[in-house]
Symmetry: C2
Subunit: 146 residues, 2 copies
């Protein structure tokens, strides 16, 4: 049942940290601290969890550069996801907040023709990533408006 796993180095790997890491690793989209908390509560391996611990762990992971913290457009709470080699952008419905994943990152086709990044680099800014969201109205909400 218990698998032997290896975790990134550099920090103390407590049971709680492993659990949070595992949840993030198996997640297919960014999760909020509360979602992670609930996810772990469903598999009460042992002992209690404090929601504050989840927040502290997420802060630590972020400082380690292991995860990314963002928010959904139109939503208030923060969501976290493991840094992976690929990323996904979404189209967000301004009315019902449904999110539709985009097939690929439009940004990748244009790195060469954008002078923006060059200019930033020239100014000493190191670009490590980007965040892109399209927004508008989904088919359902379009329909109900008419």
């Amino acid at each position: 049942m218990e698998e032997k796993r290896t975790y990134p180095q550099g920090i103390k790997w407590t049971r709680q940290r492993k659990d949070v890491y595992d949840v993030l690793e198996s997640a297919s989209e960014p999760l909020s601290a509360v979602q992670i908390y609930n996810h772990i509560e469903k598999h009460p391996a042992e002992g209690n969890y404090a929601i504050s611990t989840i927040y502290r762990i997420l802060t630590t992971f972020e400082e380690q550069g292991m995860i990314t913290k963002t928010t959904w457009l139109g939503d208030d709470s923060c969501v976290y996801e493991l840094k992976r080699n690929s990323h996904t952008h979404y189209a967000v419905c301004l009315s019902c907040h449904k999110r539709i994943p985009l097939h690929d990152c439009p940004f990748e086709h244009m790195h060469d023709q954008s002078h923006e990044e060059e200019e930033l680099q020239a100014g000493g800014f190191t670009v490590t990533g980007h965040k892109l969201e399209l927004y508008g109205y989904c088919s359902t909400c379009n329909f109900h408006k008419a």
Copy 2:
């Protein structure tokens, strides 16, 4: 002193709403409800303001499609800005949260070659806008890291 101004139609234009609108119009970047509140408090034209009124007004403006509500990457509170004919994207420093405005929108050069938008439209989704942020580390924070 008092200028005669015209405001968009469709809603009741109270003193408070005019004040919020004026602040947003003269702002060069998105502002939070609290920033707007403080801005107005500095010019105590008459009477008191309730922060809740600011929030309600901003919600109304958003429903009217007059303003856009977003958040800064890495920050928690919401910021609002008047919808104008042009928009600005930023590069955000993950360390000190400094924001560097980009000269133009990289997205505009690529509308034609992206299939994403077409696919969304085909699925009934109406794209009305987008949000883009680059992130990384500014020259100062790069320096202090080394």
